[in-house]
Symmetry: C2
C-alpha cells in the first residue's frame, strides 16, 4: 500500500503538499493538486487512518456503552446515535456490558487508551461518580438523569413520568398496584421506589413486598411474570411495568390463558415500541430515537469544548386497551 511519501515522489512534490491536498488545504496550486490527485489514483492510494489519528490525537470514534443490543430500548437509542454519527462522519464501537461493572470498566479503559474519543453511557452498573472520574480522558454522556453537573445528560423526567403513570392507574380505580423493574439498583430505581411509596401512602394502601418486582427484562420474563402474578396471595389489580417487552410477554400470556387485561389485571408500560403499539398496551412513550440523536449532539458539543448541558425530553402517556376505568365493586 502506497504511502504519502511515494505519492510525493511520484508527483514530484513534497509530502506537505500531498498532505495539503488530502486535507483540502486552500494553498495548493491547481496544477500541483492535480498531479498529486493523479498519482494517488495511479497508486490506488488511501490514507492510513491510524496514522492520521495518531498525529491528530483523536480517533474519530464514539463508544456506546449499553447492557444488551438485543433489547429494543437500546437498539432504539443506538439507531438515533448512529444516524447522527454517520452524518458527522464519525464511527462508533459498541460495548455490551450485560450490566457487568467490569465490562463498563473496559469501556472506560478504551477511552483512556484513546481507542474512542468519548463515551455515551446507557448502562450504569458503576456509580455515576466513578464513571465521571474518567472524564479527564474525554467526554462522557449519560442517558439518564444525574445530579452531577460536570457531564451532559439526556433523558426524560423519569420520576415525573413514573408518578404520572401511577396517578393514571390510581385514576382508573386501582389501589393495589405492583411495580416491575428491570433492576432495583438501576439509576432511576431509587427515585421510582420513592415515588411509588409516596403514591401508595396517599392512596392509604400499604405495600406488600411482593409488589415490588425486579429482574424482568424480556418477553419471556413477561410471560413468566403473568404466572407469578396469578400465584400471588395478595394479588395486585394493576402492574406498572417499566419495559415494553415484559408487558408484551405478560399480555400475550394472559391472552393465551383467556384472561382479559384491562380492568384487572391492568398493565401500564414504559417505552412504547412497535410491539406494545401492535398489542394495544397503554404505555408511556419515550422518544428513544430522538434521545439517541440528542445524546450524540451533546457528545459532539462536548468534544468541541462546549459546557455540559442537561436535556429533558418530553414523554407522553398513551392510553390503550390495557388500562381502563375500573368498576370498583
Amino acid at each position: 500500500m502506497a504511502n504519502i511519501r511515494e505519492i510525493a515522489k511520484k508527483a514530484g512534490v513534497s509530502v506537505t503538499t500531498v498532505s495539503r491536498v488530502l486535507n483540502h488545504h486552500p494553498y495548493v496550486k491547481e496544477e500541483k493538486r492535480e498531479r498529486v490527485l493523479k498519482a494517488m489514483k495511479e497508486l490506488k492510494y488511501t490514507r492510513n487512518i491510524q496514522a492520521v489519528h495518531l498525529a491528530k490525537g483523536y480517533s474519530n470514534m464514539l463508544g456506546i456503552v449499553l447492557p444488551n443490543i438485543e433489547h429494543s430500548y437500546f437498539s432504539g437509542l443506538v439507531t438515533g446515535m448512529a444516524e447522527k454519527a454517520q452524518a458527522r462522519g464519525m464511527h462508533f464501537a459498541l460495548f455490551q456490558t450485560g450490566y457487568d461493572p467490569l465490562k463498563e470498566k473496559e469501556a472506560l479503559m478504551s477511552l483512556k487508551e484513546r481507542r474512542v474519543d468519548g463515551l455515551i453511557f446507557c448502562s450504569n452498573a458503576l456509580s455515576d461518580e466513578h464513571i465521571l472520574k474518567w472524564q479527564e480522558f474525554g467526554p462522557i454522556i449519560f442517558c439518564h438523569p444525574t445530579q452531577h453537573d460536570t457531564c451532559s445528560t439526556v433523558s426524560i423526567a423519569h420520576d415525573q413520568a413514573f408518578k404520572e403513570g401511577l396517578h393514571h392507574l390510581a385514576a382508573c380505580g386501582h389501589e393495589r398496584i405492583a411495580i416491575v423493574l428491570a433492576r432495583t439498583e438501576g439509576a432511576n430505581s431509587e427515585s421510582r421506589l420513592q415515588a411509588y411509596q409516596d403514591m401508595m401512602q396517599s392512596l392509604g394502601q400499604s405495600i406488600d413486598e411482593e409488589w415490588i418486582i425486579d429482574g424482568k427484562l424480556s418477553l419471556i420474563d413477561g410471560k413468566q411474570l403473568f404466572a407469578e402474578w396469578q400465584k400471588m396471595r395478595n394479588r395486585p389489580t394493576a402492574l406498572f411495568i417499566t419495559n415494553d417487552d415484559v408487558s408484551a410477554g405478560f399480555l400475550l400470556e394472559a391472552r393465551r390463558r383467556g384472561i382479559k387485561v384491562g380492568e384487572s389485571p391492568a398493565i401500564l408500560s414504559f417505552q412504547y415500541n412497535q410491539l406494545s403499539e401492535a398489542l394495544g398496551i397503554s404505555s408511556i412513550h419515550i422518544p428513544l430515537k430522538q434521545m439517541g440523536q440528542e445524546a450524540f449532539d451533546l457528545f459532539d458539543l462536548a468534544l468541541k469544548g462546549e459546557k455540559s448541558e442537561k436535556r429533558m425530553l418530553p414523554f407522553r402517556l398513551i392510553e390503550r386497551t390495557t388500562t381502563v376505568l375500573k368498576n370498583n365493586r
Copy 2:
C-alpha cells in the same frame, strides 16, 4: 498523559525495556520490570492504543456490516459475534447500511483505510464479486452462501430450508401459497424464487404475481400485509414469510380482527425469535447466535491466514399453531 519515554526516564531504563514490560516480553530483569511497573503506576500510564496499532499495522477492530440493528435478526447475529470478539479482546464497529450500497462502500473504505482489520457482511446491496475485490485489504466474511471460494461464509442451507418450508405447507394441504420476502434482490432471493416456482409447478399450481410479495421487514409491515392479504382477488391460503417480525405483525392483526390463523390463512415463518415463539408461530429456526459466533471464528481464522471455509449450520422446522393439516373441502 505520560508516554513511554517519560516512564523510561522515571524508571531509569530505556524505552525498549518499557515496551518489553508492556508486551510481557520474557527477557526483562525482575528488578527493572518492577521499577517500570512502579513508574507506570505513579504516572498513571496507559498505552496509546493508536500508536500501538500504527506501529503494529493492525487495528484490533472488526467491522460488522448490517442493514439495521433494530431488526432482531441482525441484533441476534451481532450478539453472537460480540461474545466471541470480547473473549478474544477484539472490539467492533457497526456499519448500518439500510441496504444502501453507498453505505456498504463506506464500510469497505474503512477496511482499506485500516480502521478495521476485516469485515463481516450481513448486508449485501453490492454484489458479492464487488465486495470480495476488497479482500486484499483484509478478510471479509459473509453470512450468506456464495459460490465464490475465496471467502469464508457461514449460513444455513437457505434454499433447502426454503424448500422444506414449502413442502411443509404443501403437506398441510396448501396449493395457493404466497411468499413474502424482505427484498427480491437479496442474496438468497433468486434461489428462493426458483425453489418457489419449482414447488408450485410440481403442485400443478400457476403462480399469481400477487403472491410474490417483497419489501416486508417489520411488525408494522406484517400488520399491513394482513390487510393486503384480505384484499387480494386471488387470495392464497398460506403465506410463507421469511421474517419473524412480519409474521408476528400478520398474526396479531389477524387476531385483532378475529380471524384465526392456521388452516387459512396459514403462515410459516423464518428465524424463530422470542416473539414468534410466544405467539406460537410455526417457523424455521435459524441458530442466529451460533451463526454470529461462527462468523467471528471464521474471521479470526482468516486473520491468522487460514484458508477460507464454508460453514453450513443446521436449521429446524418447528410446527406450532399457524400451520395445521388443512381440511381440503
